[in-house]
């Protein structure tokens, strides 16, 4: 601990112990604990206490005082636990202090115990303390384990959860060391403390009260999820019969916790577990309700080394809701094409039809689980692509009322699902995921048909529509069936003819979310398909490009931003709206001018940021409008960006400047913008020319201003840019050449004023020589290091923390702390 902190600590401890000076802010105490934790981790706690007796005094004071706030009491409990984690320190504190804090003489059972903070502090203190065998004896001696048992059912969920974790931790501590290695399921071989805990778990598992069973299952889940001692196997062999017996009850108690436990055990056990785990899993799968079985089935399918029969059963269970839907919608009887075991059973049907919420919940879960499963390498094979597509399409048809089922179940499903946006969203997401698969062609036609129905339907909510656009995009952009084929597949091509009129209409929607989704879709589809003749032809024949351009003046800023991105993309691909029509001559300005206008006048940040991104891309890709006169383009953009109040626009301006630099000076060594790499120096003649160009576009003025920007990311980016430039231009002259000139001196003076916050004065015309001289004189590396530290690094120091805390309780006569 540094001396400064040591000096402040006694006053702080005294302030904390004083009930008249309440600490207003909990986070200070947390920070104090964090700091002391790092101190104790770095050295001996005992030494720390000896050197700073005020800490022990604080703890003693807390023990004796009756009127301290609960947060100070909780803090002290945690602090004591933290110190006692080291055995030497534990011995030092054990005699009097620890029993008074954690034993029955302490807050336990007193008035303070009613505060959840205190109970939580007690549990966390013990959790920190329980690191050595002496701690176990202490726990036994003060009867803490019984308290932990009772805290498992605490009214505060935080306390209950922490108590469960502490129990597992104590169990692990007890079983580690001498006991480990010869701890079979036989109870007599286990240490007493472990024996007590396991007996408690066994009793809970036998209990008829579901909360108790859930507590036991949660404790075991934590154990199998976080601890990997050899004793775990013995524990499972001992407890698995009790767990299996839970399945005999009707309904199965605490099913969610049971699923978590079984999966946790299966994951921790590796590929070949003992104790009949696979059988238990299979039995659980068949016993649980469809809603509860879903997560278990997904978990099983994600396991390594799971027997094939169990995987098949799990997959079948996962597919059951969809099988029911397919069966309900089938016009003629026949197998829906799903794997064996998936056939919808009556329980699943009953769940689906029991209520709207049950039906929606089950279907959404089933779809979400299958969505998670699809990209996994261990997913079932063969993957039933066609029936899954069929199911997704059928669900979507039920939801929009276009299905005409003949069965009773189908009719009722239709009534439940029609207009249900939640299921629509889930099914569209799932449909999108299925686009990554190859399969038979026939369902693809149905997919495009239903997607089109959703895109066309006025009843599709904006969110559903967005999902429909996303799914459509994924289906349109899925890899071509014939490799090397340069144009579109016939399906998307046909679909496109119907899609563009819909897009056109959506871009005119009065709902801004819809316009926005439409524009995003257009941008993405153009990015991928801009080069395809079929797409180009269809798009240019439509009004979409013109409408997109119209939306640059949309009242909603998000839409304007998306319109900027979309028009930028269209223009990059040569697909922008045709020039002004003869009826309105002169109305239409060039897109570049329009975007520059947005950059300099739009009141919202999003459109301006989008413009900067588009311009950067245009410059990088050599867009025709830019290529005419890149210098003028960069100069105008930088001028507009430098005045912008949005730091992201300024940062993007630096990105554009960097692209320009690269084009003028040659590529950087690394593609990463923030990587420091010395580029190869450019030949002097070219370099001089390049620097003159940079001066002409006033890139330096922009970069220097940015260097002292009040927003750190901008300054950092500028620093990187200037470092790159300096390295690249190293051979150009030397500081001696220009360093003494009056030009350099005035530049440096201006920069100093800028650094001091007076950025009003312009830099004036710069000569390359002067720029290089200034660059070399600036401590850019130092600046970079300073910027690399977080902006609150000064305020985060422990000394600052202690000062803050003292100031807040009014001990410091003069408020020296900063506002942080």
């Amino acid at each position: 601990m540094d001396p400064g902190c040591s000096r402040l600590l006694p006053a702080l401890c005294a302030a904390l112990a004083d009930p008249r000076q309440p600490v207003a802010d909990d986070t200070c105490l947390e920070k104090l604990l964090d700091w002391l934790q790092t101190v104790t981790e770095a050295g001996s706690s005992l030494l720390l206490l000896q050197e700073n007796p005020c800490l022990v005094e604080l703890l003693f004071h807390v023990v004796k005082s009756q009127d301290l706030s609960s947060r100070i009491l909780a803090f002290s409990l945690r602090l004591a636990g933290m110190f006692a984690a080291q055995e030497t320190c534990f011995q030092y504190l054990q005699g009097e202090l620890l029993p008074m804090l954690f034993g029955e003489a302490g807050p336990l059972g007193g008035a303070a115990w009613t505060a959840p903070t205190v109970r939580s502090g007690w549990v966390q203190g013990l959790r920190a303390l329980a690191q050595h065998p002496s701690a176990l004896r202490f726990l036994a001696a003060c009867g803490a384990v019984d308290t932990i048992f009772s805290l498992q059912g605490d009214s505060s969920l935080f306390v209950a959860s922490a108590a469960g974790q502490l129990l597992v931790h104590v169990l692990d501590l007890a079983m580690r060391g001498p006991a480990e290695g010869h701890c079979g399921p036989q109870a007599h071989a286990w240490p007493a403390c472990a024996q007590e805990i396991v007996c408690h778990i066994e009793a809970s598992l036998r209990s008829t009260a579901t909360p108790q069973v859930a507590q036991a299952l949660n404790v075991l889940t934590t154990a199998f999820g976080h601890y990997h001692g050899l004793w775990m196997q013995g524990l499972w062999v001992r407890l698995s019969p009790l767990v299996a017996r839970l399945l005999e009850r009707d309904p199965v108690p605490a099913a969610h916790s049971l699923v978590d436990l079984l999966l946790s055990v299966a994951r921790s056990a590796g590929p070949s577990p003992d104790g009949g785990l696979w059988e238990t899993l299979a039995q659980t799968l068949s016993r649980l309700s469809p809603t509860q079985a879903g997560p278990l089935a997904l978990g099983i399918l994600q396991l390594q080394g799971c027997p094939q029969a169990l995987r098949t059963q799990a997959f079948g269970r996962l597919l059951q809701p969809l099988a029911c839907v397919l069966k309900a919608a089938a016009q003629a009887p026949g197998p829906p094409g799903l794997p064996e075991g998936a056939a919808g059973d009556s329980v699943t049907v009953d769940t689906l039809l029991s209520s709207k919420s049950a039906c929606v919940g089950l279907l959404c879960c089933a779809l979400a689980h299958l969505e998670l499963l699809q990209p996994l390498p261990q997913r079932p094979s063969p993957w039933p692509q066609a029936p899954l597509l069929g199911a997704a399409v059928t669900i979507l048809r039920f939801c929009n009322g276009s299905a005409s089922p003949t069965s009773d179940v189908g009719g009722r499903l239709c009534t439940i699902l029609v207009g249900c946006a939640r299921v629509q969203r889930a099914a569209l997401d799932f449909l999108g995921v299925l686009s990554q698969e190859t399969g038979p062609q026939e369902p693809v036609t149905q997919v495009f048909a239903i997607l089109l129905e959703y895109l066309v339907s006025p009843d599709s909510s904006p969110m559903v529509l967005k999902k429909a656009f996303q799914a459509t995009l994924r289906w349109l952009l899925r890899p071509p069936r014939a490799p090397g084929c340069c144009d579109l597949d016939p399906h998307p091509q046909l679909f496109l003819g119907e899609l563009l009129p819909v897009l056109q209409k959506r871009l005119c929607s009065p709902c801004w979310e819809v316009r926005d989704s439409g524009l995003e879709f257009l941008t993405q589809v153009t990015r991928s398909w801009g080069g395809q003749a079929g797409f180009r032809h269809a798009l240019l024949a439509s009004e979409v490009p013109e409408l997109t351009r119209q939306l640059l003046r949309d009242p909603e800023s998000y839409v304007r931003a998306s319109a900027v991105t979309a028009t930028g993309q269209l223009s990059s691909q040569g697909l922008h709206a045709p020039p002004a029509s003869p009826e309105h001559p002169g109305v239409q300005q060039s897109l570049l001018e329009e975007l520059l206008h947005i950059l300099s006048t739009d009141a919202e940040g999003f459109p301006r940021r989008a413009v900067m991104q588009v311009f950067t891309e245009w410059l990088r890709d050599g867009h025709a409008d830019v290529a005419e006169d890149p210098e003028q383009f960069v100069a105008r953009v930088l001028q507009a960006a430098s005045r912008d109040l949005d730091w992201e626009v300024r940062a993007q301006g630096l990105e554009l400047a960097l692209v320009f630099l690269e084009q003028v000076l040659g590529q950087r060594g690394s593609r990463c913008a923030y990587a420091v790499a010395l580029p190869e120096a450019a030949p002097p003649g070219t370099l001089a020319q390049a620097l003159r160009a940079l001066c002409r576009v006033q890139l330096f003025e922009f970069a220097f201003r940015a260097l002292f920007d009040c927003d750190r990311p901008v300054a950092q980016k500028s620093c990187e840019l200037l470092l790159f430039l300096r390295a690249k231009a190293a051979p150009y002259g030397s500081p001696q050449d220009a360093g003494g000139s009056p030009d350099v001196a005035s530049v440096e003076a201006t920069l100093q004023r800028w650094q001091a916050g007076e950025q009003g004065q312009p830099l004036g015309h710069l000569e390359p020589g002067a720029v290089m001289a200034v660059l070399k004189s600036l401590d850019l590396e130092g600046l970079r290091d300073t910027l690399a530290e977080s902006s609150d690094h000064v305020e985060k120091s422990p000394q600052s923390l202690l000062q803050d805390m003292l100031a807040s309780v009014g001990v410091l006569s003069e408020n020296e702390a900063d506002c942080y």
């Binding site: 189908g410 239709c414 009065p510």
Partner: protein
Amino acid sequence: MKLYCLSGHPTLPCNVLKFKSTTIMLDCGLDMTSTLNFLPLPLVQSPRLSNLPGWSLKDGNAFLDKELKECSGHVFVDSVPEFCLPETELIDLSTVDVILISNYHCMMALPYITEHTGFTGTVYATEPTVQIGRLLMEELVNFIERVPKAQLASLWKNKDIQRLLPSPLKDAVEVSTWRSCYSMQEVNSALSKIQLVGYSQKIELFGAVQVTPLSSGYALGSSNWIIQSHYEKVSYVSGSSLLTTHPQPMDQASLKNSDVLILTGLTQIPTANPDGMVGEFCSNLALTVRNGGNVLVPCYPSGVIYDLLECLYQYIDSAGLSSIPFYFISPVANSSLEFSQIFAEWLCHNKQTKVYLPEPPFPHAELIQTNKLKHYPSIHGDFSNDFRQPCVVFTGHPSLRFGDVVHFMELWGKSSLNTVIFTEPDFSYLEALAPYQPLAMKCIYCPIDTRLNFIQVSKLLKEVQPLHVVCPEQYTQPPPAQSHRMDLMIDCQPPAMSYRRAEVLALPFKRRYEKIEIMPELADSLVPMEIKPGISLATVSAVLHTKDNKHILQPPPRPTQPTGGKKRKRASDDIPDCKVLKPLLSGSIPVDQFVQTLEKHGFSDIKVEDTAKGHIVLLQEAETLIQIEEDSTHIICDNDEMLRILRVLRALLSIKFRCLHLK
């Protein structure tokens, strides 16, 4: 309690409820879909329409060719359009005591009822309903009267001839009752019979029932009605909306605990969400105008148009349509736009608060101020000077059979750049367009019907829990075109009772109680006897005084003392002379015990027969017949055994509830 169903149209209802001693007509909607069978009435001479070929029978007989014209395979009546009136024969409409109007669309048949049936009662409606209803009627009369048509076709209505006609004329119902439009004079006379009411105002009808209008959320001043007596409550729900549009929100709570809920006026397009339709409307409008085309919106002069104008107010700038003129053409356009701004108390909360700023509640005022929206009484006059294209025109009538809309259909129908957007749900757009075929202009169907859909109805019924629901038969089964959509029907327990045109329903609940007041001095004189904890009974001897459907038990008059004949009886003293009031017998008769007691009292040769309603006790010797039924006992005898039998009965009966009628 009976319900006479005079209209088959679920959203243009006309029912008569007989409840207690009152006869109440619930709405009088006018089914105008009949006009779709007629040729449009063009404002300007239309060579196309006047040159349509006459229709002749298959055998070439052309005797109907003056009355029927053929256009693109459809046959139309070339005559003044006629409307399908509510049934007038099912019940004598002169006996109707009051008519309750729920909204301005449901009063269009009022002049036919009040002026031609001998109706002498009162009509109740809210002020906006009356004012806007007047505008709708005025517009209708104006549309029809300004294009006089000499011909009134009637030959085709002959049943034998109608059979030979092609559909839909062949299937048109009740054509003999179709009538041409009323006159303005009839409208004024009908409206003069209306008495204005406010929401939650309680109106006594002859002391028998109380009627109360409640906000229904559908249109300015639209109401549902509660019709209740002391012990019965009937709710009449017609044209209600739970959406947030311009009117005051629907009052649902007051509908709770109804014995019967009559449910009419649900959305006509249950599969179309109004929000989505407004989106479609705006998008299609923008696309058309952007391409240089004109947009025609056939509409009523009030209602959804206010919401559409409000949407457009927010939309036109974003869609770059600020320079496009919007025209609203109707003989009542000006009044409609102005009326909407003055009924602040009938508007939703948001609009009400604007009035205090003070700002006009509807933004169409600003559209008018900025010249973006212009309104004209007709296409003649100023409009033709100001007319600029491309533009958007709102005009009537939505049936496309009369009004200025006919002119625009003729004018713009030939160009595919133009679009007609149907927003009113009352008419099938395909049928409306039939006489304009072949048509090049685009047609968009965006029906905006904010009335309750079936999901909302289901929630409403769960909320208000009526004992019985009565509704048009169309609501008790899925629409014929979507027979699998079981969600598009009313699903309630017990199942809703359905009605159809010209049907009389006996409503499934009996009136069991009547409220009778007891005068305080009579109540004081009662001596209740507790027969079980919490229940006490007392015999009451009193005079039942009934006036204006109010019943009062008054103390019985004291036995008249001989007064010496000097005092004159006062005229107002209408209590009947009743010297000695004997307590009435009441209670059910245990037959076995009765027979035994009769035997004890010396009757012999007693025979007992069971009947469907009770028993017959035959005292053969005494030549007496005693009919014992659930709620009556008749003793039929010609001799003086009556007194003996009564004595037996009196001994048997304790105080019970039922009356015993002695003959």
